[in-house]
Amino acid sequence: MSEGISQPDQPEAVAGEGKDLFSKFDDIIHTREALLASGVEDPFNLVMEKVLSPTRAVCNGRDTILLGTYNYMGMTFDPDVIEAGKQALADFGSGTTGSRVLNGTYQGHKACEEALKEFYAMDHAMVFSTGYQANLGIISTIAGKGDYIVLDIDSHASIWDGCAMGNAEVVPFKHNDIEAMEKRLRRIPEGAGKLVVLEGVYSMLGDIAPLKEMIAVAKKYGAMVLVDEAHSMGFIGPNGRGVAEEQGCLEDVDFVIGTFSKSVGTVGGFCVSNHPKFEIMRLVCRPYVFTASLPPSVVATAATSIRKLMHGGNKRAHLWENSKRLHGGLTGMGFTLGTTEPQSAIVAVIMPDLERGAAMWEALLHEGLYVNLARPPATPANMTLLRCSLCAEHSEEEVETILGMFERAGKAVGII
């Protein structure tokens, strides 16, 4: 602005004034402003000032029980895991500053891939910098022009983005609907490559997929199968390999996608496979090639954690107890849950609408409990959910405390 001149520097009031590339976000900006204007604490701007353990933190100044972290096996503060990370930080430095295919593959990345191969008893393992990139990379790379991807409509954003990034035809089917999936597979033109993408546990409602039946159908039509086991690793299945292992169909899965940011307790993603040509992925998968590899401390903590998860039978049993106790308690109080039976370590509490969902979320936070508020469009059927993810380190008493908090908050907000 030039001083002393009555004319503005730029033309006034042009057509479409106030409109720019951000105008497309106006609806979500207004929804958010309206929610915050009601006085509710911002559900998407929580700060953890201190983390005391896998299940406790100081959030927005309050001592809080964590019930929304996906830290299923509580490995984040495991002494062996921490020690491995410290050692790698001292020995290999703070970062690799390079791609896996150039200067970014350290001994620790190979050790981490060895641990994954042993964990899943599979021939190949490829570590990505995040779970998101694992889905993005594998899906967009293996399904190309003229191929078909048949996927569940409730698939995670990373799966959809992998589809969007590739050039395959994308064909969704109704959630967990075996018949709808089969119809679509049957109609695919002869000779086209087919990839079926499924998840073991669907994170929004915490329900599992009928993988055995679905994979049998996929194989009948000659499709390759990719299963995202992000929310089941370390917990579901006799060896913690996931829902496919639990249902006895892991050997028919061509690609398992997983993450280090849940049960493993750090960050990173991976794909394991028995495909004889799998190693070529390292050269053709862009989200693997064109990004820096994980820091040495991260792969060291991941490898240590994965090896410990192989022997996590007792923790798995306790986590199931926690899930059943929370699910049963909440059902008894009259809350509506995402599943009628506990199927995973996620218990989703269905809220009547976003306003009461946000009020309930805040009431729980004031009680000293953190859960995830999930809202459309991330949720199926436009639901507002309070998503609880349990940890093997939650004690029986803590789960009882959590139930008491839900009861008081639910009554205060008028949901039960």
């Binding site: 078909y148 409509i153 589809c163 035809e169 994308v170 064909v171 969704p172 089917f173 109704k174 709808a180 119809k183 679509r184 109609r187 695919i188 469009p377 059927a381 436009n382």
Partner: protein, 81 residues
């Protein structure tokens, strides 16, 4: 099926999804006029796919904005199948 038969078949399929009884012309848009959200689109597309035994992939759906384009696309897909 010729275009008019495809048209009348789709008209009957769209009825349960056309809650406001919006009048259908070739220019009627799914997002704007019919206010279909993503879930409605999925169910509606599934109904058409089942009726005509075709696949309308999401890539193809992205090109279909109005009713007339849908009728044209279905005519083409059942011909080419």
């Amino acid at each position: 099926m010729d275009r008019s038969e495809v048209d009348s078949t789709i008209r009957s399929l769209i009825e349960p999804f056309n809650k406001k009884g919006v009048e259908l012309t070739d220019a009627t848009s799914f997002a704007g006029d019919l206010e279909f959200d993503s879930l409605t689109v999925m169910d509606f597309v599934a109904a058409i796919e089942d009726k005509f035994d075709i696949i309308i992939s999401m890539n193809q759906q992205a090109e279909i904005e109005n009713y007339g384009q849908l009728v044209d696309a279905v005519c083409k897909l059942q011909g080419g199948a």
